[in-house]
């Protein structure tokens, strides 16, 4: 049945394969549910990731309970690790079954090469013979970008070793070829000023396993939320023109009013020891060899 599912809906269920993980898109799951091959699937997760290395090692022949680096466990009909953070165990089991069949049938391993090129920076593509690196995105919304500047200062002392353990897959301040796909951690700076920014933040959330709010504007909203306190007489004609001409929301919001945030690095700009500690936490969580 699962094989049939893939054959019937390859364009929507095709998982993204980055060399180590399959990532099934949320849209694909929604489409699947509408297509109803498995009406029992209860909830749709924001993201599902299958660790293909473990699939290979286990041979896809017997059910095993495998502890993933994220602490999720799946022991149903599967030889692979599934992380489905908003689905229940039935869904995780179902996904595991789907992917194990996909693996066994030798189908849908990866996107076509041209699609892969779109999804990944050619300079950052993962290779199987390289150790796993933490896949990171860095994003800025409404703020003064002081934490981004501070981050570029940290590169003075850390870039050489971070390049060995971190893949900067999305960081507009430093590169043109960016990809949102398959982020382990998204660091997000700034407050949310509009519906379009909120959608962008949600898109980041869907593509990242963990989201860390960076700096005061993301963590508390201040000082970017200052206009929320404006009295009506302060909203003069000129301010009103901007508010109505562009898609300004009625109120500026801190990040966790828009999306779920896993961690916060506070400060204006961010406190460096706190950022380094948080980064270390995620390197350890993803079992990245920091001495690579």
């Amino acid at each position: 049945m699962a094989t049939d599912l893939f054959l019937r809906y390859p364009q929507v269920v095709a998982p993204f394969y980055d060399g180590r993980h399959f990532t099934l898109r949320r849209e694909a799951l929604v489409h699947q549910r509408r297509a109803d091959p498995y009406p029992s699937a209860p909830l749709f997760p924001e993201r599902c990731i299958l660790n293909s290395e473990r699939m290979r090692h286990s041979g896809c022949s017997r059910p095993v309970g495998t502890k993933s680096p994220l602490g999720e466990c799946c022991a149903r009909l599967s030889c692979c690790t599934v992380q489905a953070d908003r689905g229940d165990s039935a869904l995780r089991g179902w996904l595991a079954q789907v992917f194990s069949v996909a693996y066994r049938e030798n189908i849908l391993y990866s996107l076509p090469p041209d699609r892969m090129a779109m999804e990944q920076s050619p300079h950052q593509a993962s290779c199987n013979d390289q150790p796993k690196r933490l896949v990171v995105g860095w994003f800025s919304f409404t703020c003064c970008e002081d934490s981004t500047i501070l981050f570029t200062e940290l590169l003075n002392d850390h870039l050489d070793k971070w390049k060995k353990v971190i893949e900067f897959r999305h960081i507009k301040a430093l590169k043109t070829n960016n990809s949102l796909t398959g982020l382990d951690v998204a660091f997000v700076e700034g407050a949310i000023s509009s519906e379009s920014q909120a959608k962008e933040a949600q898109h980041i959330r869907e593509n990242a396993q963990y989201v860390v709010a960076i700096g005061a504007c993301a963590c508390t909203g201040q000082p970017s939320t200052i206009r929320n306190q404006f009295a009506s007489e302060q909203i003069n004609q000129r301010i009103q023109w901007y508010l109505s001409h562009f898609d300004y929301a009625k109120e500026v919001k801190r990040l966790n009013e828009v999306i779920h945030v896993d961690d916060m690095v506070r400060g204006c700009p961010m406190k460096v020891p706190s950022f380094l500690q948080t980064l270390k936490k995620y390197l350890e969580l993803f079992a990245i060899d920091q001495h690579a």
Binding site: E145, F168, T176, V252, P269
Partner: protein, 433 residues
């Protein structure tokens, strides 16, 4: 007829968010929009009703990269409004902190944002780990240069970003002079690395030439970022308090930031390092002038890419100037100069890394801000950027789209635009385009 649109949703390797939209009809640019896409925070409205003492620190949050520039411009505007004359020690320490800011800020732009354009790569992240690779050498030069700039500012004003020590009338806390000898040693040691960068940007054979007007601060005694009058290419000289009267505000429908024309010429104009070196090149530090004579021969220049070269030269200028300040400064245990609050209006007009930065504070007799105004460099350059890009596209439409995109981004990047700065203000005198 061949019509097409070229859209760059997000211009990368700049500070903040901006995009570009070009409409081409019959192989002519019909419309071009450089879109500053950062959302406004209306800080100048927010400071109205606040006590003056709290305002400079708040306004340093306008921009993460040039926060020291906004801090100093705000301090100077408020001090002017209150009739406060700061001590020579305060002036020297501000000058020193500013040298550190320029060194760090220019190096970030030149090496992290522009260098990949020279090397033909996407990012500094793609530079190899091979120590024999020249790109690797330049990248590690940038680490040393940036670190030194940051350390100078840290030692002088407490932090390179949102500095805590400067206050109205002086300093809340004086720096520790025991840190100065080490800084002098490091500044001397960094000169060969800075010169290597200047050579690299001098040898970068690329150009976009367009006649334009230039505006910069000029202090006739030295190359100065903090004191002087405004001059333009025609020799017009304007006192800082009069500067705003010469600007025509232009509302740009597609941009979150305003634009400006210089009313004396009714033309677009450029501010920033290119303007400064064009107009004040002969005032550079003697050591700098001597060591960069070949590169200086390129100025005055109408090639916008030479804004990068001018920034590289200014790094050396700031290194040499900082050495001078550190060698002569004798720190006394000073307290900030204070005065009873009085009603008044003051202007702080300085050279931020990207060009002229104007702060105006109107204060009432209780020391409360009644009105505040800011004009930032990127907003002033916005019309110039669009006009440069129109020229570039009209002359190069035979090139493939990818080349056009890459070159358009590199032209914008040459201006070192900062969208965080550009989107915090509202100006007067509406002129609809």
């Amino acid at each position: 007829m061949h019509n097409r649109n070229i859209v760059i949703d997000t211009i990368t390797k700049i500070e903040g968010n901006a995009g570009l939209k070009v409409v081409i009809e019959d192989e002519t640019v019909k419309d071009l929009q450089f879109i500053i896409a950062d959302y406004r925070r209306f800080f100048t409205t927010a400071v109205r009703g606040r006590r003056l003492i709290a305002v400079p620190s708040f306004l340093s949050r306008i921009c993460g990269t040039c926060s020291v520039a906004h801090l100093f411009a705000s301090l100077m505007a408020i001090e002017s409004a209150q009739g406060i004359a700061v001590t020579e020690q305060t002036k020297a320490l501000r000058r020193l902190a500013y040298d550190g800011l320029m060194i760090r800020d220019h190096a970030l732009h030149l090496y992290f944002f522009v260098l990949p354009d020279i090397l033909g790569i996407d990012s500094i992240l793609d530079i190899t780990d091979d120590p024999d690779d020249f790109a690797h050498t330049l990248l590690h030069d940038s680490f040393d240069i940036k670190r030194l700039g940051t350390d100078i500012t840290n030692a002088t004003v407490g932090a390179a970003i949102h500095a805590p020590w400067p206050t109205v009338g002086g300093f809340l806390r004086n720096p520790e002079p025991r840190k100065f000898p080490d800084l002098i040693e490091r500044l001397e040691a960094i000169r060969p690395q800075v010169l290597r960068g200047i050579d690299t940007f001098f040898e970068w054979d690329t150009s976009l030439v367009r006649n334009t007007d230039y505006l910069a601060l000029r202090n006739d005694t030295r190359f100065d970022f903090l004191e002087g009058d405004v001059v333009n290419s025609n020799g017009k000289r304007i006192a800082r308090s009069e500067f705003k009267n010469y600007l025509q505000y232009v509302q740009i429908p597609h941009s979150h930031a305003e634009g400006y024309r210089f009313s004396d010429t009714q033309e677009d104009y450029l501010v920033g390092a290119l303007a400064r070196v064009n107009l004040n090149g002969e005032l550079l530090h003697p050591r700098t002038r001597e060591d960069v004579a070949p590169a200086l021969s390129a100025f005055p220049s109408n090639n916008v890419y030479h804004n990068n070269l001018a920034q590289a030269i200014e790094i050396l200028q700031c290194v040499d100037d900082a050495i001078d300040v550190l060698r002569i400064i004798q720190l006394a245990d000073e307290q900030p100069v204070r005065a009873s609050a009085r009603a008044g209006t003051g202007v702080g007009l300085i050279e931020a890394p990207r060009g002229l930065l104007y702060h105006m504070a109107k204060v009432n007799e209780q020391g409360i801000i009644e009105d505040y105004d800011v004009v930032v460099p990127t907003a002033q350059n916005q019309i110039n950027i669009e006009n440069d890009l129109k020229d570039y596209f009209n002359e190069n439409l035979d090139k493939d789209e990818e080349t056009l995109r890459v070159n358009a981004e590199s032209i914008i990047r040459a201006y070192d635009p900062c969208m965080s700065c550009a989107t915090n203000f509202l100006k007067i005198d509406w002129i609809r385009r």
